[in-house]
Amino acid sequence: MTATDSPDTPSPGPATSLYRDTAAVEAAITDMAQALDTLLSARGAHAPLMIGIHTGGVWVAERLHALLGLTEPLGHLDISFYRDDFTRIGMHPRVRPSHLPVAVDDRHIVLVDDVLQSGRTIRAALNVLFDYGRPASVLLAVLAERSGRELPVEPNVVGLHADLAPGEHLKLAGPDPLTLYRGSPPPGGRSVAEDAAP
């Protein structure tokens, strides 16, 4: 999760530069929808429950939800209470309540996030999900995947593979239009990614 605190902020800050413009992001999401459709059919999971991770994941999930023509409302997941760095950076000030419209028990879930790096957000999201019930299966779809995995978490569907230096981070600005920025942490301060992590 690398979204800005304010969803309306068009650009995430001065230390960043454009990585993929809106057209490229939308094209990647269209590809993701296609791949998801194929994968879900192959698995026989015809009416999946789609859940976006706050905040950028929800934006991507909204697009996928429309492209796949899903009728059930989208679920929102906030992982702030399940983060593993609570002991390091304290609690994120603005927690948007998780909202799952229907029970997750025995459902095929499509979990959506914007950027996958360490895998820690997904670990936390899975924990939240299982505190709501026992899904039949969980697929992971991410807009951008990059190096830096710290946990054995791999996505099932990927919009784009980003090639970044270890210190750099990716940041999705939205909700409309969606644009991907790259940037390096400001010197001497907490990284933007850390500030913006959910």
């Binding site: 209470f81 304290g90 505190d131 500030d195």
Partner: protein, 346 residues
């Protein structure tokens, strides 16, 4: 009741906040800024959702030990603090001190040292003497956090914050609101904290309504309220009505002729409720005395949000507890001198 001088306010703020302005202890609302109070309310909003989970727990305070030190009996407050701690995955010790060691002659400080030796991370303190929670916060070894669950006639900050949460949920905000607090303002730590919170959050007017024996002299300037001794006049046009419990246990003189007389003059009935704004809500910190502070028809009526206050109390207490524990974690982490993670949680 005397309003704190600025120095006292500064002292209270200094004791409660770390250098970055994070909450270390939660003892009083005196000296806390509007932004911090709003922050607590915003965070509490997020905890409401935990009640909708199949597993009604989040792991924020896993491995922490929270001790409820209740030197004064309480059911509701102790239960909600206990449940809030358990929903944060903390381990909870309930110590009913009024029947234990202090009765055998142990001093408060010795009790405290013993609990510290058990590696308790947070104390939730209720005491019949004003200032007890401050005393414990001053003497507790860092980074033990202290939350005031009510001390004497002084302060009950989590109760006031859950009331603010309930008001905001119904009214959308605080601007332009007129709030009436009715009853035993003199003995009420709840009223005192509520008045501070309401004024800090910027309501238009706080009214204190009650017999002259139960509203402190010089309240207008000392507390920042408008005083009414006539219920009907005071209720006119108010948006929020907060009733206070008559505190028999703190009344040692002839404050009232009788409960019947009190109800006759200050009890809230449906007819009197009609004087307030049409969408006015009725609140009470509990436990309610039916037929004394209000009619049963008001307590159970559609304008009453009394049970909602209890549910909101859980979310607000989870927010305050996790904020204090979070700050404590920051210190511990700093003491370990490990650099914060370079890369965010992505």
């Amino acid at each position: 009741m005397i309003a704190p001088t600025p120095t006292q306010q500064e002292q209270a703020a200094a004791l409660q906040l770390d250098a970055q302005g994070n909450l270390k202890h939660f003892l009083t609302l005196d000296g806390l800024e509007r932004s911090l109070l709003t922050d607590i309310l915003d965070r509490a909003e997020g905890f409401l959702g935990v009640a909708r989970q199949a597993v009604k727990k989040v792991p924020l305070c896993r491995g922490k030990i929270i001790a409820n030190l209740f030197f004064e009996t309480s059911t509701r407050t102790r239960t909600t603090f206990e449940l809030a701690a358990k929903r944060l995955s903390a381990d909870v010790l309930n110590l009913n001190i009024s029947t234990s060691a202090t009765a055998k002659g142990e001093t408060l400080l010795d009790t405290l040292r013993n609990l510290e030796a058990m590696h308790v991370d947070m104390f939730v303190v209720r005491h019949a003497d004003s200032g007890a929670a401050h005393f414990i916060a001053t003497h507790a070894a860092a980074p033990v956090a202290v939350i005031n669950a009510g001390d004497g006639c002084y302060s009950h900050p989590t109760q006031a914050m859950l009331d603010m949460f309930t008001i905001r949920a119904h009214k959308g905000g605080f601007e332009g609101l007129t709030v009436a607090i009715i009853g035993d303002v003199l003995h009420s730590r709840v009223a005192r904290s509520q008045i501070t919170a309401l004024n800090t959050l910027g309501v238009a007017e706080v009214r204190a309504i009650g017999p002259s024996t139960l509203v402190p002299a010089r309240s207008e300037e000392a507390l920042g309220v408008r005083v009414f001794h006539d219920l009907r006049a005071g209720l006119r046009g108010v948006d929020v009505i907060i009733l206070l419990r008559l505190q028999h246990e703190r009344m040692d003189g002839g404050f009232l002729p009788s409960e019947h007389e009190y109800f006759h003059l200050f009890g809230l009935t449906d007819k009197r409720l009609g004087l307030a704004a049409p969408d006015a809500i009725v609140m009470h910190p509990g436990p309610i005395n039916r037929g004394v502070e209000m009619d049963s028809s008001v307590a159970d009526g559609e304008r009453s949000v009394i049970l909602e206050q209890v549910s909101n109390g859980l979310a607000v207490r989870m927010a305050v507890m996790s904020m204090c524990i979070g700050t404590q974690n920051l210190w511990l982490h700093a003491a370990g001198q490990q650099p914060p993670a370079e890369v965010g949680d992505v």
